[in-house]
């Protein structure tokens, strides 16, 4: 336990000291906010007000914002797992590996470290809310944080697993590029994924981002009072095997996903150094 805590703290402290990293990772989400928030919102809002005239105060950006936060979580989580490869390159991994800390504790500590870093970045995105002309209830913004953390855990474990069997930073970046973008686009973070072709729907349903974004929208936006047309148009009727999925099931999915991947990463650590 102490080992997990030490490894976790080390990564968080190092992140907080690294100002460049703190601000650098905002560029991509802000770009997406501009494109999807600014660029696409006119079209979307126009479409909605044509079909449902009574929903004229509909704001598309309100629905996209949680998705962009989820995207920030995804990118930061996965890239923070890169610290494993850095530790290996700079020798520090050896210090950890020869210590009595259990391999599973190393994996969990690293995963929690990356998740915490991602979560801090995600919460910092909230600072942009006033500038977007939207608002969320304060209580729901606080409520959403544990779910954000859970999503970050699931995503960090993806990065962890990749980093555990890759040797070089370059290889890692390549795989991440191939993985991160599809995970964003096939999650409902930026646009609804209601009517995807069969195989794509499978990807959507095994993608943890899908469930994370869905919970975030459910918590942050008062979905109950929305008209059915908007719920459908914004992809808020996520179903699994033909029925609506509950928050509890989504949490369970992300937890299971995280545990499986962390265990796989642990095995990979064991194999690489005995």
């Amino acid at each position: 336990m102490e080992g997990i805590l030490a490894i976790w703290q080390r990564d968080v402290i190092k992140f907080l000291r690294d100002r460049a990293r703190l601000f650098g990772s905002f560029s991509m989400p802000i770009l997406f906010l501009l494109i999807f928030g600014g660029g696409l919102s006119g079209t979307m809002e126009g479409l909605i007000s044509e079909t449902v005239p009574e929903e004229s105060d509909f704001q598309y950006i309100q629905f996209v914002f949680p998705g962009i936060v989820a995207m920030t979580l995804l990118m930061t989580s996965v890239f923070s797992s890169l610290s494993i490869i850095e530790d290996r390159d700079f020798g520090y991994m050896k210090e950890i590996l020869v210590s009595p800390v259990l391999r599973v504790s190393i994996a969990v500590g690293k995963m929690l470290g990356a998740s915490t870093v991602a979560c801090i970045q995600g919460i910092m995105m909230f600072l942009l809310i006033p500038f977007l002309g939207i608002s969320y209830p304060l209580a729901s913004m606080i409520q959403v944080i544990p779910f954000m953390f859970l999503l970050a855990c699931a995503l960090s474990s993806v990065g962890l697993l990749i980093a555990s069997f890759l040797k070089s930073t370059q290889g890692f970046q390549l795989i991440v590029q191939l993985l991160v973008m599809p995970m964003v686009f096939l999650s409902g973070a930026l646009f609804p994924v209601n009517n995807m072709p069969g195989w794509m729907d499978v990807v959507v349903k095994i993608n943890p981002v899908t469930y994370g974004v869905d919970i975030m929208k459910k918590v942050m936006i008062d979905t109950g009072s929305l008209s059915p047309v908007i719920r459908e148009a914004m992809g808020l009727n996520l179903t699994l095997f033909g029925r609506s999925i509950t928050v509890f099931e989504e949490v369970l999915f992300m937890l299971t996903f995280t545990i499986i991947l962390v265990l796989l990463a642990t095995l990979s650590f064991r194999r690489s150094n005995a």
Binding site: I13, G91, E95, I96, S99, P100
Partner: protein, 310 residues
């Protein structure tokens, strides 16, 4: 007293190489044990197996009474390792590096602060505790690593090339610290080095070659085994000189090495006087000396330690 490290019939086989062949030896409590050998002799493989970093193909290692293959955590708690390369986190301060180590090794909370101060004092880094490691010189980093290796009261300290890449003055300092440790804390040290003059501080030395232990003995005994004196000479025409020497010297071993002829003999006086009379080519350089560890190394491995580097 029970040996602190017991290595029995240790083997490591890879697909097409047999890196470590039936190696057995003991390391006694409190001794400095030098572990030498040319590169590729299987030294690192052996050490990695002893340190639980690598699983042996067969054989057992026991450290402090714990089996290295079964009770890994216990063994890891019993040893401190100072790696050849830097394994500090340079973005953190010296104090933070030490505190992390305490936590990895479950040093009791109450003892941490006191222990950190203690080890910093041993290596004279008390003043630099709050500084980031990236601002340290090479020697300071090394000292900090030694301090860190000591934090959890290890029974055995593994020192892998502890002075490599350091200037002679810093090297001398590091050895002072290491010897001070031996005196103060009575820790057993397992040392590898390429500087044979540094291996002299060992109580016993093992030389490994081609995956096997060639010999284990004290430095003095090893040098005695090489025996007698060593005459080194070079002449205007080395080929001619060597040929003549072969003819009239009987009880000595003659070897050639980059421009010098080496004669190993028990009776250097008579050889020198004979040499002056008999040799037809003028001698340009002549030197008589006692055998060094380098000669020992050479006679057991057939290679000079400097040559084995490349």
């Amino acid at each position: 007293m029970e040996p602190i490290i017991k290595v029995q019939q240790l083997n490591k086989k890879y697909k097409d190489t047999h890196a470590v062949k039936n190696v057995s030896f003991d390391v006694e409590q409190g001794e400095i044990f030098g572990f030498l050998g040319p590169n590729g002799a299987g030294k690192s493989t052996t050490i990695n197996m002893i340190c639980t970093m690598l699983a042996p193909t067969s054989g057992t290692v026991t450290i402090n009474g714990f089996n290295a293959a079964v009770e890994r955590s216990k063994v890891r708690e019993s040893i401190g390792i100072i790696f050849q390369e830097n394994t500090l986190d340079e973005k953190l301060t010296a104090g933070e590096n030490l505190m992390l180590h305490c936590r990895f090794y479950r040093v009791p909370k109450k003892r941490r602060e006191e222990r950190i101060q203690e080890v910093l004092q041993i290596v004279d880094l008390t003043q630099s505790r709050q500084k980031k490691v990236e601002t340290f010189s090479g020697g300071m980093k090394r000292r900090l690593e030694i301090a860190r290796g000591l934090l959890h009261y290890p029974k055995v300290l593994f020192l892998d090339e502890p002075t490599v890449g350091l200037d002679p003055q810093t090297r001398a300092h590091i050895w002072e610290y290491i010897l001070r440790l031996k005196r103060k804390e009575g820790i057993t040290m397992f040392l590898t080095t390429h500087y044979l003059d540094e291996a002299e501080i060992s109580d016993r030395i093992a030389i490994m070659n081609h995956g096997k232990i060639s010999t284990i003995d004290s430095p003095a005994q090893l040098k005695k085994q090489v025996g007698g004196d060593i005459i080194e000479l070079s002449a205007k025409d080395n080929d001619q000189a060597a040929a003549e020497l072969e003819q009239y010297i009987e009880d000595a071993e003659i070897t050639r090495q980059d421009g010098t002829i080496k004669i190993k003999t028990a009776d250097s006086d008579s050889i020198i006087s004979g040499l002056m009379k008999e040799l037809s080519v003028p001698i340009t350089h002549l030197n008589i000396r006692k055998p060094t560890l380098n000669d020992v190394f050479l006679s057991f491995t057939g290679r000079d330690i400097e040559q084995s580097e490349s």
